[in-house]
């Protein structure tokens, strides 16, 4: 018992002396070199966190915009082998009366055809400027509360309840936004805000004026033509008010699964498919997210190895050039452990400052900046994903790697024969 206490006291003395030596060595070392090492540590930390954060953020951007623009927190859709959600008015009533519902929107969707510049067609045999599209009927006010669709109008303006003869066109239906040459997929040429377009749904054709262009980076929306729900109902002769999609936004803090359970208990499940956002997210998006996270981790791991090697080299060079003094210290009775601890403290100093500065840059600048100015990718507005828990894990990982990278070279040098070190042989 007594012996153990003595060992602990020995350790404590070594730690204190190690700190004493490390503190003075850092304080009186070359400031530029120290700054450079800390800079490398900062870059390594950012590499570890930011590269993964951007890669994951790209897909997270896709996920977020899908949820925001299209899906909501819960999505009620048409079950297989059905054309619409039967008994929609009752379901909408249930949704409206749920205590967790913040807002909701019901959409009619039908396959149709849109044709532009048909008045300029000279010959009957000329190829039509047309494209297949999903035609959606919405209540503009309710839709905007759920999806903020008005903010995604990049040309022209959003629909109002008076726009019975106007439509919004998804950007991917226009050649100027999606230049693609394919016989299977056609886009409209020379169609702009104010142009007349002809829509054909279920054999009924009607002329509309293009009021605006939607660009959401969600394929489902950007390949749609959006009009008032009342207009669409009239066109297709729908009098039962049965819709095809209901997107629900829940109040903050609500567990979507609880809402789903409540909907299913109310019998919604018998005529419609109810999904939370996580359930409804396409599998390829989930796979992409995991793949990008893995890629980020691989790149980060390489960064971690590079940082470890850097610290190893720095400490090794430092220790090897000071081998004589290490020998002297051992010669006058300083324990090897105290000298090793001194180098570990030095490594931790570099790591702590590097990581600290990295965290400041990350949360003080990068995250808010990318949030305010998302990275514009063709398929999403990329954000920087840097969850505190994941970042904390990487901090621990980097600190640990640095600690080992500092200890190992110190141990190698300290282990050398004392007299050989003193005499430099």
């Amino acid at each position: 018992m007594q012996k153990q206490k003595t060992k602990f006291e020995d350790l404590l003395i070594s730690v204190k002396l190690g700190f004493f030596l490390a503190f003075r060595q850092i304080r009186r070392s070359n400031k530029t070199t120290t700054a450079l090492i800390i800079f490398i540590m900062t870059l390594t930390f950012l590499n570890l966190v930011v590269v993964r954060g951007v890669l994951v953020g790209l897909i997270q951007g896709v996920v977020d915009v899908q949820k925001e623009i299209y899906f909501g927190d819960l999505f009620i859709s048409v079950p297989n082998k059905k054309d619409f959600i039967e008994n929609s008015p009752n379901i909408i009533e249930i949704v409206k009366n749920l205590p967790w519902t913040e807002s909701y929107t019901a959409r009619y969707t039908y396959g149709g055809k849109i044709e532009g510049t048909y008045k300029e067609k000279v010959n009957y045999t000329d190829k039509a400027n047309e494209a297949g599209a999903t035609i959606a009927g919405i209540n503009p006010e309710m839709e905007d509360k759920v999806s903020h669709l008005s903010s995604k109008v990049v040309e022209g303006s959003y629909l109002t309840s008076d726009d019975a003869d106007s439509v919004l066109i998804g950007a991917y239906l226009l050649k100027k936004y999606l230049e693609i040459e394919s016989s299977a997929f056609q886009t409209l040429e020379n169609v702009d805000v104010g142009s007349k377009v002809r829509l054909t749904i279920k054999g009924n054709t009607k002329e509309f004026t293009v009021k605006g262009v939607l660009k959401t980076k969600v394929d489902e929306i950007d390949l749609r033509v959006v009009m008032l729900d009342s207009t669409l109902r009239n066109m297709i002769g729908r009098t039962d008010y049965n819709v095809n999609e209901i997107a629900i936004i829940t109040k903050p803090g609500t567990d979507p699964l609880v809402v789903k359970e409540a909907l299913l208990r109310s019998g919604v499940g018998t005529t419609a498919k109810v999904q939370t956002f996580d359930e409804g997210m396409p599998k390829f998006v989930k796979d992409m997210k995991n793949t990008f996270a893995l890629l980020g981790n691989i790149v980060g791991s390489i960064g971690l190895v590079v940082a470890s090697i850097t610290i190893f080299i720095v400490i090794f060079v430092n220790a090897i050039t000071r081998r004589k003094f290490i020998g002297i210290l051992k010669g006058i009775g300083i324990s090897s452990r105290a000298i090793e601890i001194a180098y570990v403290f030095q490594s931790l100093f570099y790591a702590t400052l590097g990581i600290g500065i990295g965290l400041l840059i990350l949360y003080g600048f990068l995250v808010p900046f990318v949030e305010a100015h998302p990275i514009k990718f063709p398929f999403s507005d990329g954000i920087l994903v840097a969850e505190v828990s994941a970042t904390a894990w990487r901090v621990v990982l980097l600190a640990l790697a640095t600690l080992i990278a500092g200890y190992v070279p110190a141990r190698i040098v300290v282990k050398k024969n004392t007299l050989d070190s003193i005499l430099g042989r």
Partner: protein
């Protein structure tokens, strides 16, 4: 006087390629407490090697070294380090001060390693530096001190923890005559206060100042006696 070091049949050899070079060959002698003992000899005679064996910086091939009633040749590596810290002090030819530490910080290290409270350790370090006349340069870094001053700090570090024996390896070799004289004066003062000192030197004028001299060569003690007798030979 009490015997502080007893060397029995000490042998140290080095392998050089296929052959073996015997530097210390079955050497035996004793040193008394309070002695000022110098080891002399030609370059390559093995005087420093002998000092390293006595100072526990190296391990002999065979033989025993008993210091203060402890057979140090049987101590473990850790045991030797602790023994050095507790009972021995060192003064090296090139001062061997840690460049990032001030005079007092260099001196205080062994005391902190002994586990002395910080205030007490610094007080003892200051006392040691005052004792060798360095009280004005406590907070100077080694590169702000002259060679002589650095060597005196080195001596202060060696005496601060009140060791039984001080080992000095050519302590005057890198110093000019005037500074070397001062360093020797410091050693003589310490010895007059009862400090046992073992010094390697190739300079007869400084060996003459010690109480006892052994001259070694070919791995053996060639002469052993009072300094005035040996040096005059």
């Amino acid at each position: 006087m009490k015997e502080i070091i007893s060397v029995k049949n000490l042998t140290k050899s080095f392998k050089t390629g296929d052959s073996e070079l015997v530097v210390l060959n079955n050497m035996s002698f004793e040193i008394e407490e309070g002695d000022f003992f110098s080891i002399t000899g030609r370059s390559g005679s093995g005087k420093s090697t002998l000092l390293y064996q006595l100072g526990l910086l190296d391990h002999p091939n065979s033989g025993d070294i008993i210091i203060d009633d402890v057979n140090v040749t049987s101590l473990s590596k850790e045991g030797r380090t602790k023994f050095r810290l507790k009972k021995l002090g060192y003064v090296f030819q090139d001062y061997a001060l840690v460049p990032e530490l001030t005079a007092i910080e260099n001196t205080v290290i062994p005391l902190l390693m002994q586990g002395l409270p910080k205030i007490e350790a610094y007080a003892k370090a200051e006392w040691a530096l005052k004792k060798i006349g360095m009280e004005e340069r406590l907070h100077n870094l080694p590169n702000q001190l002259s060679g002589g001053e650095q060597q005196r700090v080195s001596i202060a570090r060696a005496i601060a923890h009140d060791p039984k024996i001080i080992f000095a390896d050519e302590p005057t070799a890198n110093l000019d005559t005037e500074t070397a004289d001062k360093v020797m004066k410091t050693f003589l003062e310490l010895n007059s206060q009862g400090q046992t000192i073992i010094m390697v030197t190739h300079e007869p004028e400084y060996a003459r100042l010690t109480k006892r001299v052994i001259k070694i060569g070919d791995g053996k003690i060639l002469t052993d006696g009072k300094s005035e007798d040996i040096i005059s030979i």
